[in-house]
């Protein structure tokens, strides 16, 4: 070892690098566990996001259909309003039904049938 290196390393020598199986287990087990947990977490989050988006789309569609339903109901009611029906009936030649005959059980009109 040169003087310069001795000054830098303070005379400390690196020991021989040895792989011990037990140490490796201690080192990698948490890493593997963390990776598994992270993967699970990512899967969960992505699924939640996808489900959330789907629910949001369903809700938007539900509101759209509700709006459409209300709109159609009002349009239908407007088209079948009393004033429109009245106009249409008069246009078709109908007149108010003023001559009404009530039939009772025992009336001759019923018996003849």
């Amino acid at each position: 070892m040169s003087d310069f290196m001795r000054l830098v390393t303070h005379g400390i020598k690196r020991g021989r690098f040895e792989i011990r199986s037990r140490a490796a287990l201690y080192l990698f087990a948490p890493v593997v566990a963390l990776t598994v947990v992270a993967a699970l977490y990512l899967t969960l989050v992505s699924r939640t996001a996808a489900r959330g988006r789907h629910i949001e789309q369903l809700r938007v569609e539900l509101f759209r259909l509700q709006r459409e339903n209300q709109q159609l109901e009002v349009e239908l009611a407007s088209a079948a309003s009393v004033s429109r029906l009245w106009e249409r009936a008069i246009g078709l030649g109908f007149v108010p039904a003023e001559r009404v005959e009530f039939l009772r059980p025992g009336d001759s009109a019923l018996r003849s049938e």
Partner: protein
């Protein structure tokens, strides 16, 4: 072996590093544990915003057969988040022709200081969808609800109206506003920079509920016929206005309630300029002196106390003094010996004044109050007033003469609904129910709440009610003959009342009215007709009574109410031929 110098430096570095670790750990403890709440809230403020979920529709209002009287249509609001508009000129050029706004004006708005600009609202559904299809960056197309009244003016006073903010006023819209209002759900969640919800947080699954649906007791066909008759009568008799109420006396359900002048609730803004605006329902919000129709109540009280019978006689001298004031018959004539039934047939003021003084004020006013005069009926409509009834313990307003004057319906005031409810009590065997306009309420989950009749009071005995009903039939048969409907036995009473003005009574105008019900003895229909200041005649017999006859004849047919007897069948066919 390491020399002493390096060893010391190593210790120093180690100590420093350990100290640094402690500082970092302490800081982490401070941030993560001690100040956790502060930093969590700070972060939340930055990425979470309150989001309003789409508001569902206001509750629908239907007539008793399910026809929509008030519903909801979709309109759109075109808005801009100016910060997200990249190409203001392009957006303005695209929107200008569609919205009929000069492109330069739109561009100026988009380049302005405001972060949010409403470009057009409300716009029709088709236009909103056209703009949405352009997918312009920074332009939002938001749906809005607009209240629609497909029957336009029909039952406008009963329904009321709803303003652009979704608040109901007058009528059912006003009374049931809280029930009709949709649920507004606000949810705080994570948003992106454009304030749109980030989907990885799921919004509450419970969706906001629409408003409750109301099914009225009103029948739109009956309502239309009633309004047509009122319109005809107001025009034909040149009246300033009027009210007609049709009710089922067995349940006090209001089948139709019309007043003129009316309005179109879908365009209520157009009527604000009128003086007064026609929004208040005169049937429940305006009071009048009922005049001779009120004699029914005075006679009912006298009969029920057992003081008189229909055949009890008195000597009618044309006037009677009550509390120092002379009460005279409307005709100014003396009628001599008259029965209590004759009092109703000839509508004798002297006769009812004689009855009220005979009863005494305590008894008379006890019955008048039991009939609901001077207190709201409790009908489920906004703006009902109580009417006006001074009682003997009110020394400031009540005078001894009131006992005589009140007996024939002057010096007190009622609403048309109070009056018809009081007379319906006679038709309902003496039991006064609470008039109501809503038959059913349907909750958003489909649960149906049915409104049951509420008994207010047993005012007179069923026997008295039957007796009085027979007397009222005689009134129509011998007095108000214009009210007769062929084939049906009708009971009724007309009234021609003076109108109070400051300092006395109006010498020219009158309020004419008629209340009738049938077919007796099991009435299924009661109708009150009231016309304000008719000019062709000031008498009820020539105005309100005729209107009643036309309407009742029509309603018996429309509602499928058969005539009284087998012989009547031929009569009906004969008369209407």
């Amino acid at each position: 072996m390491i020399a002493e110098g390096p060893r010391r430096r190593l210790r120093l570095v180690t100590t420093l590093l350990i100290g640094l670790v402690f500082v970092i750990v302490a800081q982490l403890v401070q941030v993560q544990l001690v100040d956790h709440r502060f930093y969590a809230d700070w972060a939340k403020e930055q990425h979470e915003r309150p989001l309003r979920l789409d508001t569902p529709a206001r509750g629908t209002i239907r007539d008793r057969n399910g026809h929509v009287l008030a519903g909801n249509a979709v309109m759109w609001s075109i808005e801009a988040d100016t910060a997200y508009v990249v190409d203001a000129q392009g957006v303005a050029t695209a929107l200008g022709p569609l919205l009929h706004i000069p492109a330069a004006q739109i561009e100026q708005l988009l380049r302005g200081q405001a972060a949010w600009v409403r470009l057009a609202s409300p716009v029709p559904k088709e236009l909103g969808e056209q703009v949405a299809a352009l997918r312009l960056q920074g332009i939002t197309v938001r749906p809005l609800w607009e209240r629609k009244y497909p029957e336009t003016r029909l039952a406008s006073h009963v329904i009321g109206f709803c303003n652009a903010e979704g608040t109901g006023f007058y009528g059912v819209e006003g009374f049931y506003d809280v029930l009709l209002q949709p649920e507004r759900t606000e949810w705080t969640g994570a948003v992106d920079p454009a304030s749109e919800q980030i989907p990885w947080t799921v919004a509450p699954v419970v969706l906001p509920q629409p408003g409750a649906e109301l099914v009225l007791t009103v029948d739109r066909t009956v309502q239309a016929l009633t309004e047509a008759e009122l319109s005809r009568s107001v025009q034909e008799y040149q009246a300033e206005g009027g009210t007609i109420i049709v009710m089922d006396p067995r349940t006090f359900e209001i089948l139709a309630m019309a007043s003129m002048p009316n309005y179109d609730p879908g365009h209520y803004n157009d009527f604000y300029g009128l003086n007064p605006p026609p929004f208040e329902d005169p049937a429940v919000s305006q009071q009048y002196e009922p005049g001779s129709v009120f004699k029914i109540l005075t006679v009912a009280a006298a009969l029920d106390t057992g003081l008189v019978t229909p055949y009890t006689t008195y000597d009618d001298q044309g006037s009677i003094e009550v509390g120092g004031v002379a009460v005279a018959n409307a005709s100014r004539q003396a009628y001599g010996q008259q029965t209590v039934t004759d009092i109703l047939i000839h509508s004798l003021n002297v006769g009812v004044a004689w009855l009220s003084t005979k009863m005494g004020s305590d008894t008379f006013y006890r019955y008048v109050q039991a009939f609901g005069v001077g207190q709201p009926t409790g009908v489920d409509l906004a703006g009902e007033v109580a009417g006006q009834l001074w009682l003997p313990d009110d020394y400031e307003h009540w005078h001894d003469s009131n006992l005589g004057i009140n007996a024939f319906g002057q010096g007190l005031a009622v609403t048309p609904l109070q009056m018809i409810a009081a007379v319906a009590t006679v038709a309902n065997d003496g039991t006064r129910l609470r008039p109501h306009i809503v038959a059913r309420r349907v909750a958003p989950d489909g649960t149906v709440f049915t409104f049951r009749p509420v008994v207010e009071a047993q005012v007179i005995s069923p026997q008295t009610a039957r007796t009085l009903m027979e007397m009222m039939v005689q009134v129509v048969e011998e007095g108000s003959t214009q009210a007769r409907v062929p084939g049906y036995t009708i009971a009724g009473k007309s009234g021609t009342a003076q109108i109070p003005i400051p300092g006395g009574y109006d010498r020219e105008g009158t309020i004419v009215s008629f209340v009738g019900f049938g077919p007796v003895p099991d009435p299924r229909l009661i109708v009150l007709v009231k016309l304000d200041r008719p000019k062709t005649s000031t008498w009820a017999s020539e105005t309100a009574v005729r209107a009643f006859q036309r309407l009742a004849a029509r309603l018996f047919v429309v509602l499928g109410i058969p005539p009284d007897g087998a012989q009547a069948v031929a009569q009906v066919a004969e008369v209407v031929r």
